[in-house]
């Protein structure tokens, strides 16, 4: 991977993805070998909207590589509340850190940030845009359980605003995967994501109901349907209830179906699933550590390598 930043899953080739996942596996197998790898370096955590797990996951990953982290804190208490532009903020923080992790409520924020700094930028979520580091850990989880070829994946829930969905769908086009998208009509994949999927010639189908497709799935990736997407609360409860998974729902599922979720969940996966062999979401969250360690390691290595043509490794 000779990438300077990680902004969108669309920038990643199959080789790029596999290189990071191979490294993640090596990290998981022997974390001690990576413990001091980036001692003395600093990761800046720039979260312009609330985050618990992504922020902590990057914080932990960096520290396990020997890095220190600096956190700009909540937006309310930072210079952003004084009206500073994102472009200025990242140019200042670049001087404090060896890499930046950015979450921002506007789509395209990470693209803009990367245009203003030389330091590696990782997009940790830009509005309803992309969340590519989540995708890497999703793919790591799928690979460890099923491999990444000859796959049938169902992605369900809020496909319109779900940035983890947009990144995952793009990345899966690099593999031999059939993709099924299951959502209410009002939360279908956005036009721009469908455009990209069609451009790649990906095998995709859209459904409003899980039943017909469930038995074929190797992976069911569930996302949260948010209340604020609906003008009417009754409508929200009606729709959300239709896309809820419980033990009865999974009666027709393949024995080795993996149920995944980027978390946090509210009630879209019943707790009774947690103890079954289908549940992969906590394993998935834990995979954030080796995957983000591998990602930071790769980006910092690239940033410090001499400029030159891309070399196959």
């Amino acid at each position: 991977m000779r990438q300077d930043h990680l902004i969108t899953a669309k920038q990643l080739s199959r080789d790029d993805i596999e290189a990071v996942l191979d490294r993640a596996r090596a990290v998981a197998d022997d974390p001690a070998a990576y413990a001091d790898r980036h001692a003395g370096r600093v990761l800046a955590l720039c979260f312009f909207e609330p985050s618990t797990r992504t922020r902590m996951s990057f914080d932990s990953a960096a520290k396990r590589l020997g890095m220190n982290t600096i956190d700009m804190g909540d937006v309310d208490s930072s210079s952003v509340s004084k009206g500073e532009s994102l472009a200025d903020t990242v140019r200042v923080i670049e001087g404090y850190a060896d890499a930046l992790v950015l979450r921002h409520p506007s789509e395209g924020a990470a693209t803009l940030a990367a245009e203003h700094v030389e330091t590696p930028v990782v997009n940790a979520g830009d509005g309803a845009g992309q969340h590519p580091s989540q995708t890497l850990l999703d793919l790591h989880t799928i690979r460890e359980n099923h491999g990444l070829d000859d796959l049938t994946v169902g992605i369900m829930g809020d496909l319109k605003y779900g940035r983890t969905v947009h990144s995952l769908a793009a990345a899966l086009t690099e593999f031999d995967a059939n993709q099924h998208f299951i959502s209410p009509e009002s939360l279908r994949l956005p036009r721009s994501v469908r455009f990209d999927l069609h451009e790649t010639g990906a095998q995709i189908r859209e459904h409003t109901d899980l039943d017909g497709v469930l038995p074929d799935l190797d992976v069911l990736y569930v996302t949260r349907i948010q209340k604020e997407r609906f003008p009417d609360e009754n409508e929200y409860h009606r729709v959300a209830g239709e896309y809820r998974i419980d033990a009865e729902t999974l009666e027709d599922a393949a024995e080795d179906l993996s149920v995944m979720h980027p978390l946090p969940r509210v009630d879209e996966i019943a707790p009774e699933i947690d103890g079954t062999d289908h549940a992969r979401y906590f394993e998935q969250a834990h995979n954030g550590i080796p995957v983000r360690m591998a990602l930071l390691d790769t980006l910092i290595e690239n940033a410090e390598a001499p400029e030159g043509p891309e070399v196959d490794r």
Partner: protein
């Protein structure tokens, strides 16, 4: 002699943009960044009959020869436009507009949540795709209503 030439006299030197879709002439000027303050002679004819378009607009800009890269962006709102470079009252060159690969700083992104609409010091940039343009920042695709998002 065609109808529009009866309404506005020939220019000596400059550019005539003909076969602009009816109603788009002011957008053409906006895209070209011509607002009259340059002191150029500008004539606009709107909604005159056209065999090819039904109704068309014509824009004449005196003493300025527009380059192909300047006019190609017009293809987004006036794909049928022809560009006539006039020298000493004669048509010295006649060209069609061709679709550019990208458009910078002309359109605003229709996605209100795009970072380009957040007061950042950034020019918009759109890739031209098969059936419209696409924001380089948020990937939103703009298809039919491009003229409504001209922001120059």
């Amino acid at each position: 002699m065609s109808d529009h030439e009866l309404r506005v006299s020939k220019i000596r030197n400059g550019t005539v943009i003909d076969h602009v879709e009816g109603g788009q002439a002011l957008n053409v000027l906006a895209i070209l960044g011509i607002d009259g303050s340059e002191g150029l002679g500008v004539s606009v004819v709107m909604n005159v009959p056209s065999d090819r378009l039904g109704r068309k607009d014509v824009v004449k800009v005196e003493d300025r020869e527009l380059s192909q890269s300047e006019v190609d962006v017009l293809s987004l709102i006036a794909p049928e436009a022809t560009i006539n470079i006039i020298r000493e009252f004669e048509v010295a060159e006649k060209n069609r507009v061709t679709r550019p690969d990208s458009v910078t700083g002309v359109l605003s992104c229709p996605n209100r949540n795009c970072i380009t609409n957040a007061g950042e010091p950034v020019e918009t940039r759109f890739d031209v795709v098969a059936d419209g343009v696409r924001c380089d920042y948020c990937s939103t695709i703009l298809r039919t209503d491009i003229a409504e998002h001209i922001d120059v």
